[in-house]
């Protein structure tokens, strides 16, 4: 256990070695909310998007959970990609003796990175626009940030195992992350997405995580199912992702040579 925690600490040190990159990402999100969000709210005539919920409140939750997804995905992909390319996965196997410790260490560190990102964005918004979060149950929000980080990490691990070449890594980091966000209800309600993309939005795990967060925190549910069904769908997604990603990471570790 101590060695797994050492691996987690090592991964966190590496991920946060470029602090500026993290802060810039948070800053961009904050700017998007305080400029883009306010502008779009004004564009729809400052009306409520759902009863008792305006656009900025709606957007804030989407952005927080998008940030968690983007950061877990990018950090897991970069870490696994560079460890595989440099042979570090092989050295970690010699060092830790068992591949499962590597997988657990990578999973935990990725989830912690997601939690830190989510909390940092939440804290920044709480400082800049405290009225925005006035209606939110902060404890529920923090709890959901923790859960969503774990859920997103399982998807991120799966995506990371696909990013075995620089081209694929680039594809996942720059295109996939955006497509997942656009084809969900992160930035706008599902009903405004062109109907042709609804099937994609309905199989997109981000839609379910964001919808559940809004349901528990703002009382808004855009999907035609109750919260238990949504949780069940998310758990199935998470379980399947974990199983497939564990198998794929085992294979990656086995294929790494020094």
């Amino acid at each position: 256990m101590a060695r797994v925690l050492t691996l987690v600490y090592r991964e966190l040190c590496a991920a946060f070695s470029e602090k500026l990159r993290f802060f810039m990402r948070i800053l961009v999100d904050v700017l998007y909310i305080v400029i883009g969000g306010v502008a779009l709210q004004a564009m729809i005539g400052n009306r409520e998007l759902f009863p008792g919920v305006n656009y900025i409140e709606y957007l804030v939750l989407g952005m927080i959970f998008h940030r968690i997804f983007a950061d877990t995905m990018s950090e897991t992909s970069i870490s696994l990609f560079s460890d595989q390319r440099s042979g570090m996965l092989g050295l970690l196997l010699v060092t830790l003796e068992d591949p499962k410790y590597i997988i657990v260490g990578k999973f935990l560190s990725s989830a912690i990175i997601g939690i830190i990102s989510g909390l940092m964005l939440l804290a920044s918004l709480a400082i800049i626009m405290p009225c925005l979060l006035a209606k939110s149950n902060i404890l529920a929000l923090v709890t959901w940030i923790v859960f969503s980080s774990i859920i997103y990490t399982s998807f991120s691990m799966l995506l990371a195992t696909i990013a075995v070449t620089p081209e694929r890594l680039n594809l996942i980091l720059n295109i996939f992350g955006n497509v997942v966000a656009f084809m969900s209800n992160v930035f706008y309600p599902l009903e405004y997405i062109p109907a042709i993309f609804w099937p994609v939005a309905y199989v997109n795990p981000m839609t379910y995580v964001v919808t559940l967060a809004r349901f528990y925190i703002l009382g808004v549910n855009e999907l035609p199912w109750d919260s238990f069904s949504l949780i069940a769908i998310i758990l199935i997604y998470t379980f399947v992702s974990i199983i497939i990603s564990i198998k794929r990471i085992y294979k990656l570790i086995e294929e790494t040579r020094l």
Binding site: R10, A15, S17, S82, S86, M88, D98, R257, L258
Partner: protein
């Protein structure tokens, strides 16, 4: 003395090539074994199998009695490795890379810090340890990799071209550290290299690997004696190559190797030098005589044999 590494009829086949064709060897505890061979001979494949990262197609290997295929976790507990590949996190400092490697191997923090300090002092890396690895030169990266393996004081240390990018002074320091580790800790070192001087100075026993076969094995001095006392390096004019070869072989028999149009003639006695040189001087660009080193053993076994 216990056998630390035992390799039995090891075969490794890839899709296009057979990297190892049934090599067998044994390394005694507390000794240094050098696997010497040209590029693509199968050295790194052997290291990867011993490091439990590659499964052999046939045969097996043991680390202190633990089968690397069926008991990999027990084998891993005893080994550490200086790999040919980078295997460092470029985002972290040199210090953190070494520290985390040691901690992951279970070395207590206080001991680790002391060992890192000592090694950094010895390898002149103290002022560089707080810099990120991505800012390092090739030699510094190599030193960090070596320090990383040395802080864990393993029972068996696997080295793949350990001093490849080091300057001569650093190389001597590293050799000294390896020898001390063997003498003080009874560590067994298995080293793949194509640096013959490194093998000659450092190794108790050397194995010559060529095209996946162990063609020669023994202590460096014995291997040198088998080749002769001296070697003539003859740069022949292209058009006279055949004539020179037949002249030498008539005189000496099966003691010539060739790399391109340069011949290497292995002499049993130094007095052969004068008469042989007189015989071929007109057909050659240059004739140099030198004492036999492991390099000549290597050339004799690995260079293209034209006689014998």
């Amino acid at each position: 003395m216990e056998t630390a590494i035992k390799v039995e009829k090891l075969v490794k086949k890839y899709a296009q090539v057979i990297a190892l064709k049934g090599i067998s060897l044994e390394v005694q505890e507390g000794t240094i074994y050098g696997l010497l061979g040209p590029n693509g001979a199968g050295k790194t494949t052997t290291i990867n199998i011993l490091a439990t990262l590659l499964k052999p197609s046939a045969g097996t290997a043991y680390i202190h009695g633990f089968n690397v295929v069926t008991q990999p976790k027990k084998a891993r507990r005893l080994i550490d490795i200086v790999p040919q590949r980078l295997c460092l996190d470029l985002r972290l400092t040199g210090y953190k890379n070494i520290y985390f490697h040691g901690r992951l191997k279970g070395v207590p923090s206080s001991i680790l810090r002391k060992r890192i300090d000592e090694l950094a002092e010895a390898l002149d890396m103290k002022r560089h340890l707080k810099r990120r690895v991505r800012e390092y030169s090739g030699g510094m990266i190599r030193k960090i990799q070596i320090m990383q393996a040395l802080v864990t004081r393993p029972k068996v240390l696997l080295l793949d071209e350990p001093t490849l990018t080091l300057d001569p002074v650093s190389r001597r320091i590293v050799w000294d550290l390896f020898r001390r580790l063997v003498l003080e800790e009874k560590t067994t070192i298995f080293m793949a290299t194509h640096n013959t001087m490194e093998a000659e100075i450092l190794c108790d026993k050397v194995g010559l690997l060529n095209c996946g076969l162990l063609v020669k094995e023994g202590a460096p001095n014995i291997l040198k004696e088998q080749v002769g006392v001296g070697v003539l390096e003859i740069r022949v004019k292209e058009e006279y190559l055949n004539r020179v070869v037949s002249a030498i072989s008539e005189y000496l028999g099966e003691k010539i190797a060739r790399i391109r149009s340069t011949l290497y003639v292995f002499l049993d006695k130094e007095e052969y030098f004068e008469p042989l040189t007189a015989k071929i001087r007109d057909y050659c660009l240059e004739v140099i005589y030198r004492k036999v080193t492991l390099e000549e053993v290597f050339i004799k076994e690995v260079g293209r044999k034209i006689v014998g």
